[in-house]
Amino acid sequence: MDATISHTELLELISFRIGEQDFCLDIMAVREVRGWTVATPLPHSPPYVRGVINLRGAVLPIIDLKARLGLGETVPTQRSVIIVVHIGDRLVGLLVDEVSEVLEVDKATIQATPSVGCDTVEQFVRGIIPLEGRMLSWIELDEILPVRIDEAA
């Protein structure tokens, strides 16, 4: 979901940390941020699918974003949070180490992701945003979920 771009081309993002790296997401895709609760593991799922939790009656799959980005498995701590995002018509929880802030950036400052010869980077990083001596990777959500198993018949 794209943010409504105003005349000044400002983009509202939510930034978060995974390990030593900073990432951000379009805030329009975020429905809520909640604390970590233990998930019920799903059989026959990729390792980055932590399982499912109960989000007020809905069954919410939890993706370990660190594992999804190939940075190793998250060890949940008190500060770990789940960012609940819309991906298409589905609601998905992303497990991250901590949420940093909500910020506005000028769209013009977003730089294309340089090729670093890494598939996960190419797949999941839409662009990079330099910010106060740091760098945020702008996450592309569309391919975060595993490919749906299409039912035969």
């Binding site: 233990v38 998930a39 019920t40 593991p41 799903l42 059989p43 026959h44 799922s45 390792p47 932590r50 399982g51 499912v52 939790i53 109960n54 007020r56 009656g57 809905a58 069954v59 919410l60 799959p61 370990d64 498995e73 589905r90 609601l91 998905v92 979920l145 595993p146 749906r148 198993i149 039912e151 018949a153």
Partner: protein
């Protein structure tokens, strides 16, 4: 949705009901149960459909409904006997009317040829096609009273064609007498598909235009040979008011735009502005979408008071009640764990709350329950079509139409029933000749019944045909490698071979059943809903398909079990019994498999934790519990779990809504502690035992 669109939707809803009633009444007439009131009701239904269609400008629908209505009018006035053959035509006409309505909704297209044939059949019943005089259409009539502006048509170049060409020059007198050129064109189009051209070259500019004069000439060309008399008949009663020239093999006039009649009608209508109607007519038309309902209600004024509620509201309420049940369970669990214990007044209050929530849940589910009638009603048409295509004579008998079942299940019933009926007629019933030869009535009977049995809905489709040819079924199964040639199978087991993937009994792939969708697919989709299907057959007497489904797909009675650290729910319907096995009943077989002896039979033991990849090594079955489960088709297995926590009704939550299907898991639910528990797909677990190599343990993270 604007208000016009809203009225239109209401009209469609009402049409669906009217057409269902129409078919119902026709079936009654066919069975000889109807009387004058029934005929009147049939007439009113078609009339109401037509009335509304006129208001919304569904021309094709109006035209067809009109012919239908004319025929029905004859029946109403006693000119036409409601004998079986006539009613059969009317039933097929009602099918075509449904097609037209679907097309008007923008869902599907009308088979023009079929509709045209149908119109002719109906007209033949009245004895002539000259019913234009009573034409109800005032939409375009006397369009020249409004004054035309020149029309621009976007057209393809006309294909030069030999055949029959008609030039029609309506005079002002004809229009003055209330005739409408459009109706002639439509009638001509009905005789055979024609190319119609409008010559508007005589049309003066607006200031010179005489609004009551006639300036338009049409050329109608049929590429193939058509009956000249039929064409002349169309103009029979206008005589000199509309001179026509009929020429054979006339060359196509060059550079004349050719348009199809529908596009032309649309263009004329657009250009002519609002339909020319008198104030009275106008009111009647606007009011008509609401009128049909009123008429029907007055007929059955004693019926229970009902309200129409948006389904979304009901669904939302069911969701909320589901949450309430979960919350109540959570609360109960917390109280039980707390120091106040079970004896306190809080606990008593909670018990009452539990009762109440259960009652609320039942009542809310009852709101969404619907009789299976809505599905059954679609079947007579299907049966007619299949019977027509296979050349068999079939009578459909339905029973238990008022059996209620949750809406979520209703929606899923249609496909399997359709398939079972197809099978029964195509494969089950013999041809009339074969039937007569074996001393049966040439007309085969297919029975479709619904009933409640032990908390499930059972649908039975039975035919009085030849039954399953067991030697043939066996032979096919052997040829296709589905069973061993020396397999020892009971009759019942042979019958159920038809549900195996890759099995099809039709020696020639037929148009009806052989659509690449076998009974195995039907079976799988039913199993996906927690249902079962089986077949029983008596050679020479017929077969019965039995399909059972849970009454709702919203809640499930389950047994809560634990495996490793996980809590799982097994559907109670799949569990035959639970037991703690004795060591001597467990018989190891092969390197790492074991069988359990249960009353003489041996069933494979499946550790649920291993099957789901929750752990690598199975637990000792004697230390845990075994759920003896039965999958579809009767395959049994012993599912080993650590312990049983209890039985409870759980609210089914879809995993697919936010994620996707997961192997071995049917759905999810939320337990009293607020955590998600997975509901086992017993069949998939039994199947996983067979191809164990595919089940790889997964790395768990929690």
């Amino acid at each position: 949705m604007d208000s016009f669109e809203a009225i239109k939707q209401t009209y469609f809803q009402e049409c669906d009901e009217l057409l269902a009633d129409l078919e119902q009444n026709l079936l009654m007439l066919e069975a000889g149960e109807g009387d004058g009131d029934t005929i009147n009701a049939v007439f009113r239904a078609v009339h109401s459909v037509k009335g509304g269609a006129g208001a919304f400008g569904f021309e094709a629908l109006v035209a067809f409904a009109h012919i239908f209505e004319t025929t029905l009018d004859d029946m109403r006035s006693g000119k036409l006997d409601p004998e079986q053959d006539v009613i059969k035509i009317m039933l097929r006409a009602s099918d075509v009317l449904v097609d037209h309505l679907q097309a008007a909704k923008g869902q599907g297209v009308v088979d023009e040829e079929r509709a045209a044939t149908m119109s002719r059949e109906l007209e033949a019943l009245v004895g002539g096609g000259s019913n234009e005089e009573t034409a109800p259409l005032s939409g375009e009539s006397g369009g020249d009273e409004w004054g035309f502006k020149p029309l621009m048509f976007e057209v393809d170049a006309p294909a030069p064609a030999a055949g029959l060409t008609l030039v029609m020059r309506p005079t002002a007198t004809m229009y003055a007498k209330g005739h409408d050129a459009v109706l002639f064109l439509r009638e001509l189009e009905r005789i055979a598909h024609a190319e119609i051209e409008l010559d508007a070259s005589a049309l003066p500019s607006l200031d010179a235009l005489d609004p009551e004069a006639s300036y338009l000439t049409w050329t109608v060309r049929w590429p193939a040979d058509v009956d000249e008399k039929a064409i002349r008949d169309v103009f029979d009663f206008v005589g000199d008011d509309c001179p026509i020239e009929l020429k054979r093999d006339a060359p196509a006039p060059p550079h004349q735009p050719a348009v199809d009649v529908a596009a032309m009608l649309a263009n004329i209508r657009d250009a002519a502005g609002p339909p020319v109607v008198t104030e009275e007519e106008h009111e009647e038309k606007v009011a008509s979408p609401a009128a049909p309902g009123g008429k029907i209600e007055s007929k059955s004024g004693a019926a229970a008071a009902t309200i129409r509620v948006d389904l979304e509201r009901v669904d939302r309420m069911i969701d909320l009640v589901g949450e309430l049940v979960i919350n109540q369970a959570m609360l109960a669990q917390r109280v039980a764990e707390s120091e106040t214990g079970r004896s306190s007044s809080i606990a008593m209050g909670l018990d009452e709350l539990e009762q109440l929530t259960r009652e609320i849940q039942d009542s809310v589910m009852a709101i969404r329950a619907q009789p299976v009638k809505s599905v059954f009603q679609r079947m007579p048409r299907l049966v007619r079509e299949i019977a027509g295509a296979t050349g068999k004579q079939v009578r459909l008998v339905t029973e238990g139409e008022n059996t209620e079942v949750d809406k979520t299940v209703i929606e899923r019933l249609s496909d399997p029933i359709t398939h079972m009926l197809r099978n029964a007629i195509d494969h089950g019933l013999e041809t009339p000749e074969e039937r007569s030869a074996s001393g049966k009535s040439p007309e085969g009977v297919v029975r479709l019944a619904a009933l409640h049995r032990s908390g499930r809905i059972v649908i039975e489709v039975s035919d009085d045909g030849k039954g399953i040819n067991r030697p043939r079924v066996r032979e096919i199964a052997v040829n296709k490698g589905l069973i061993q040639p020396d397999a020892n199978l009971s009759d019942d087991e042979i019958d159920n071979l038809i549900f195996l993937p890759g099995f099809s009994t039709a020696s020639a792939v037929s148009n009806i059943s052989g659509r690449g969708v076998g009974m195995d697919v039907v079976k799988r989709s039913i199993q996906g809903l927690g249902g079962r299907i089986s077949i029983a057959s008596v050679p020479g007497k017929g077969s019965t398909f039995t399909l059972s489904l849970p009454l709702t797909l919203a809640v499930l009675d389950g047994m809560v079990i634990s495996a490793g650290e996980q809590t799982l729910v097994a559907p109670l319907t799949a569990i035959v019994e639970t037991l703690r096995p004795k060591p001597q009943d467990i018989r190891p077989i092969g390197p790492n498999a074991a069988l359990l002896a249960v009353r003489g039979a041996h069933v494979p033991l499946i550790d649920v934790g291993v099957a789901l990849g929750l752990r690598d090594t199975p637990i000792d079955a004697t230390a845990g519990v075994v759920l003896l489960v039965e999958g579809e088709g009767g395959a049994r297995a012993g599912v080993v779990a650590d312990e049983i926590q209890g039985q409870r009704q759980v609210v089914i939550k879809s995993l697919e809504a936010n994620y996707q299907r997961v192997g071995g898991i049917a759905a999810a639910t939320i337990l009293g502690d607020g955590r998600v528990a997975l509901i086992l797909d017993v069949d998939a677990i039994i199947a996983s035992q067979r191809d164990r190599t595919e089940a790889k343990p997964i790395a768990l993270a929690s």
